[in-house]
Amino acid sequence: MTKKIKLSELGSLLGGEIQALEGVKIEGDVEIDLGQAGLNPQMAYALGHETAQVAIHLMNISRILGYPVDQMLGATAAPKRLTKLIESRFSAGKIEDWKTPIQEVVLGATSSDGGTRKSTVTLGGETALPYYFDGPMPHRNHITMDVFDMPINMAKAVKSNYEDVINSPAEWAKKVVRDFGADMVTIHLISTDPNIKDTSPAQAAKTVEEVLQAVDVPIVIGGSGNPEKDPAVLEKAAEVAEGERCLLASASLNLDYARIAEAAKKYNHVVLSWTQLEINAQKELNRKLMKQCGVARENILMDPTTAALGYGLDYAYTNMERIRLAGLSGDTELNFPMSSGTTNAWGARESWMVSSPLKEDSDWGPREYRGPIWEIVTGLTLSLAGNDLFMMMHPTAVQVLKEITQTLYGGKETEPVNIDNWISAVI
């Protein structure tokens, strides 16, 4: 039997004071519906609420009859009114599993270390996910800007920044360091591709020398991505850059990685271990570089592949996050700093196309603003997954990514902002 008793009805039913009820059986579920007023009976009684007396009476009756009123009230959670906040302290613990630091890797060498760079860049050393409070993050993120050894197709928004230097890798390199605040420069030797210009390794090495002379920051030497040609190109480039601790990009499973590893060892450079969105392949290549080729841990950086926002960033993000978590938790085949080809963001049509090819889409707005933010969000997302070094292209994207990563890193002191009245802000 389910019987619902409205207090108002009960009030008129019972009238004045009741000593006892005889011959009353309460069976089954009894529900006390306190209705809209919904007061905690004791509280309401104290406040002299009209229906409260009735409620107390009802409870007394029920108690006398052995019905578990108090439990029932607890279960139906009749709303209470509180007049004071319940005091409390909040705390959250640290992650105990993160015991293995990420390997520190130094790029560039100054004269005291056998190179000619003015400064070096240190990556890695983290003991927690990026910007987390669990452990110190000893080094900030760094940005290396792209320079190509020949004019290439670029999105309009990018190209406008480089038109004056597009035919001179040395001038181009100077510009990104001097004007755009690049921490490093990447020289991409794309003209060496047999399908492009088939520039000889010796000729490409000359370009590398020019760039080394033009700037005094550490550099990345990138091949054309042609697996047959790259080992020879990187080998020659490594030779002319001996002792500079350049990053050789890249060793991968689909080319003669041993040859690149050998060049790095012989001429004191760092190897970029590049795999394609596959954590197990990354482990395998790192293992081969260490065990089979004898590359020292401090000379390995990983590029687990960057897919652009909207074009597989979900894979790239999760792949990096898994790699970083595995590294921190003790997988010594994965605890290396990571590098991202953030420039890939410009492959997304949203970053360069004038307007949407689909008439159902809302207006895409001016592409000049779309491109840089596409590069920023792609990079920022990966920075949160643990990426250390960003290869980038657009100056505005570089500035904004630096600003946010350094803010989260803790290196930005600004005037405090009061957000208490954001609701009424006039925007």
Binding site: S88, F90, T318, Y369, R370, V400, I419
Partner: protein
């Protein structure tokens, strides 16, 4: 959830393998409850009286660690929260971050209506669906309860999207709630100062409520107090500072709250979290800079645990990356992303244009498609149904076969004799070993493209049009 293996769940099920849920066995159903692809109510026997106790127990044990809160009513209602993991690869994240764009009560009516329409009409096609935004947040700027209520009324008349009512003045919230009390809006916010009156509103109008305090002790106090009063649908705003060390502090608070809720089982604060990237506009007056920075803040808190956020910029260059990043983070990593199989036109193909084959793995397909379109190669691009697996793995696993390729063209009604002058198709370089099979099955000339679609332009120069045999 408190149970983490199908066997644990199985103990509570009827164990009769009636298959009414669509699964062959109760054990299979149990594993779907664990991965949340099925609901308790999908099991008819469990709904009978004799299983009521088990049903109730399971409901508690399977409840997500982070409380799920519904905002709005009807088809546009949105759930937020409901997560069980700290990293998406551990399961998936549920209920994508709800994006609420602001309007305010000092706007002229035409301007207001125009802005609301812009919010509700936004759409961006992506992998077979439209990315959209979710809510309208109405800010009380005037300080006038009546004016606020009138604006809320106008907003509710203009859109069916759920509303967030924003004011620290309980009188203004009450006036607005009177107008939209049947629409289950989210009210913002209860603070250390106004909490008593706002709690009263949440109880009386039975609406979800945001608690705001950048001090986590106070935020927890508020949550405990509201829960004690029987208010369960809570959202926590630990303060989104727009810059500097304050922003770093906000970032830490988001992580601490979510870690405490999921990893440490602190039920008292296991609620959805709200971010307010709009605060970028408190420090940047230039609209482009503010929009950029707002997008940056939105990105940080989309990745790290924001379940709902209040945004201002409706510039496409802000909204587009925001909705794409949300999709990135909330896409279920357990299911490969696929495109619809078929034969699609890239550019404006003519009879002498190539016909290129790829898989329906969305990432592969869109990469090939953008490589082709960005190089202005007019062609037909066939997406073969490989269950969303990439070329190399699909060839190895038998999802990409000559028969499947033939089937794709047949189903699309694509006749090579009518559509092309060359009767040839191009296979991906990574599917080269299918060449003979495809020739036999289709009777077409089969060419082998490059292994990477980025090299199609160079390949075309050398190999297209096909030389007569």
């Amino acid at each position: 959830m408190k149970l983490n293996s199908p066997l644990q769940v199985y103990k509570y099920l009827p164990q009769i393998n009636c298959a009414e849920c669509g699964e062959a066995t109760c054990m299979a159903f149990a594993s779907h409850l664990i991965d949340r692809s099925k609901k308790l109510d999908d099991c008819p026997p469990l709904l009978k009286d004799e299983f009521k106790k088990k049903y109730m127990e399971l409901q508690t044990l399977l409840a997500p660690e982070i409380h799920e809160v519904t905002i709005g009513k009807g088809e546009h209602a949105r759930k937020i929260g409901g997560d069980d993991v700290l990293y998406r690869h551990q399961l998936t994240f549920f209920n994508p971050t709800a994006f609420a764009y602001d309007v305010w009560d000092t706007m002229a009516e035409t301007e207001l209506v125009e802005r609301i329409n812009k919010i509700s009409n936004f759409r961006k096609f992506y992998v077979g669906k439209f990315l959209k935004v979710d809510m309208v947040a109405v800010r009380c700027v005037s300080g006038d309860a009546l004016k606020f209520a009138n604006t809320v009324k106008k907003v509710a008349e203009t859109t069916k999207l759920p509303l967030v009512l924003c004011s620290f003045d309980p009188a203004a919230l009450k006036a607005a709630l009177e107008v939209v009390k049947d629409k289950n809006p989210l009210i913002y916010a209860a603070t250390e100062k106004n909490w008593g009156e706002v709690a009263e509103l949440a109880l009386n109008y039975k609406v979800p409520v945001v608690l705001f305090s950048p001090d986590l002790d106070k935020l927890k106090s508020l949550a405990l107090t509201f829960r004690e009063m029987g208010i369960k649908d809570l959202v926590l705003d630990p303060g989104s500072y727009p810059q500097g060390v304050q922003l770093k502090g906000s970032f830490e608070r988001f992580i601490k709250l979510r870690r405490a809720g999921i990893k440490e089982g602190q039920k008292d604060i296991a609620f959805p979290i709200m971010a307010v990237p709009l605060n970028a506009w408190l420090v940047y007056k230039d609209a482009v800079t503010a929009s950029y920075w707002e997008t940056v803040l939105a990105s940080v808190f989309t990745v790290r645990y924001g379940d709902i956020m209040i945004l201002h910029s409706l510039e496409p260059y802000a909204v587009l990356p925001e909705v794409h990043l949300r999709d990135t983070i909330y896409t279920d990593p357990r299911t490969p992303v696929k495109v619809a199989p078929g034969v699609n036109e890239v550019g404006s193909p003519a009879k002498d244009s190539p016909v290129i084959v790829t898989t329906n793995f969305a990432l592969t397909y869109y990469t090939v498609e953008s490589d082709l379109s960005s190089n202005k190669i007019n062609c037909y691009l066939a997406a073969v149904d490989t269950d969303g697996i990439g070329v190399e793995a699909a060839v190895a696993g038998g999802q990409l076969t000559a028969a499947k390729i033939k089937d794709t063209f047949q189903k699309a009604g694509f006749e090579f004799k009518d559509k092309t002058s060359h009767n040839a198709l191009i296979l991906p370089g990574l599917a080269a070993r299918l060449q003979g099979d495809v020739e036999d099955v289709t009777g077409l000339r089969v060419m082998i493209g490059p292994p990477d679609s980025g090299r199609i332009p160079g390949w075309m120069e050398k190999n297209w049009p096909p030389k007569p045999k």
